[in-house]
């Protein structure tokens, strides 16, 4: 017999596209540190891309994550370097979006911050899609792991 709990876990896992829940609780500073890393990679990827509004938004997102990380007692590391250009920016925003969605499952008390990051990364991904010949509305569930 399928229990209500099993249905819940199965249905949600199907939608979230991931397996069983992690049993070890993530440390907030680690999760926030990862959000900062992926957002900074997106910022770096815009080098050479003529998209000032997207760059400004990505920088603003990085600033919000950095502030949250400091408030949680963490210390931001050096900004990572990575590939740049339109294709790299599209890929970086896509990875950042997936990381933010995953973090929603790990940090309940940072959901407000994460919701703003998700909106920013999702919009950036859609805005960059035509530059790399991708469909901006390719998925009904963008960021699905």
């Amino acid at each position: 017999m399928v229990t209500r709990r099993a249905l819940l876990a199965g249905g949600a896992a199907m939608l979230a596209g991931c397996g069983p829940a992690k049993t070890r609780a993530a440390r907030p500073v680690d999760v926030l540190g990862e959000q900062l890393r992926v957002t900074r990679l997106a910022v770096a990827a815009y080098a050479g891309v003529d998209a000032p509004a997207l760059v400004a938004d990505a920088r603003a997102r990085a600033g919000r994550v950095e502030a949250a990380l400091r408030a949680a007692g963490g210390k931001p590391g050096r900004a990572p370097a990575g590939p740049s250009g339109a294709a790299a920016a599209y890929a970086a925003e896509r990875r950042a979006l997936a990381a933010h969605v995953a973090a929603v499952g790990e940090l309940r008390d940072q959901r407000e911050l994460l919701a703003g990051l998700i909106v920013g990364a999702a919009q950036a991904q859609a805005a960059l899609a035509p530059l790399v010949h991708r469909d901006p509305l390719a998925s009904a569930f963008p960021g699905q792991p």
């Binding site: 876990a9 249905g11 979230a16 969605v101 407000e112 998700i118 999702a122 919009q123 901006p136 009904a140």
Partner: protein, 160 residues
């Protein structure tokens, strides 16, 4: 203390009202609100597409299909918490404007307003969903509505 007094005291404890339910909506309440919004959006986009006929742009066709996928996904989550899929509510606000749109410009303007409402609803809902996997599913739908808002806004501006 005599046995009778002890019994009365115990009975008094049992008769105390249970702690008041924590304030705020349940997970079912939050999911119920979200699916109602998605169902209204499906009805509204469907009506607009019928009114526009062959002039309907692909982006609105895609958005309509994705709203339907969101409603189906939320129905699965509702079923998992023991709640049935509700009947689609009558579109209100921006959804009603979209349902009544008879030209492309009006449809796009109403669609942008509707997507803005949906983004706000999901941003507000995320902190209220205790189950991590349900919250992650809602987060992907939030991302989808943010993309809808951007693309329909862009096409509205491009059309001048």
């Amino acid at each position: 203390m005599r046995r009778r007094e002890l019994l009365l005291a115990a009975a008094g404890l049992l008769a105390l009202p249970a702690p008041a339910r924590a304030a705020g909506p349940t997970e079912g309440d939050v999911l119920g609100d979200l699916i109602g919004r998605e169902q209204a959006a499906v009805v509204a986009y469907g009506a607009a597409l019928r009114a526009l006929g062959a002039t309907a742009p692909q982006e609105l066709v895609t958005v309509h299909a994705q709203e339907s996928a969101h409603a189906d996904a939320l129905a699965t989550l509702l079923a998992a918490v023991g709640l049935p899929r509700p009947r689609a509510p009558r579109p209100q606000g921006a959804a009603a404007q979209l349902a009544a749109a008879t030209d492309l410009d009006a449809a796009r303007r109403a669609a942008v307003a509707l997507e803005q409402e949906l983004v706000a609803a999901y941003k507000s809902a995320l902190p209220q969903l205790p189950d991590p996997k349900i919250a992650m599913s809602a987060a992907t739908i939030l991302a989808s509505h943010a993309q809808h808002r951007l693309i329909v806004s862009r096409d509205l501006m491009a059309a001048g």
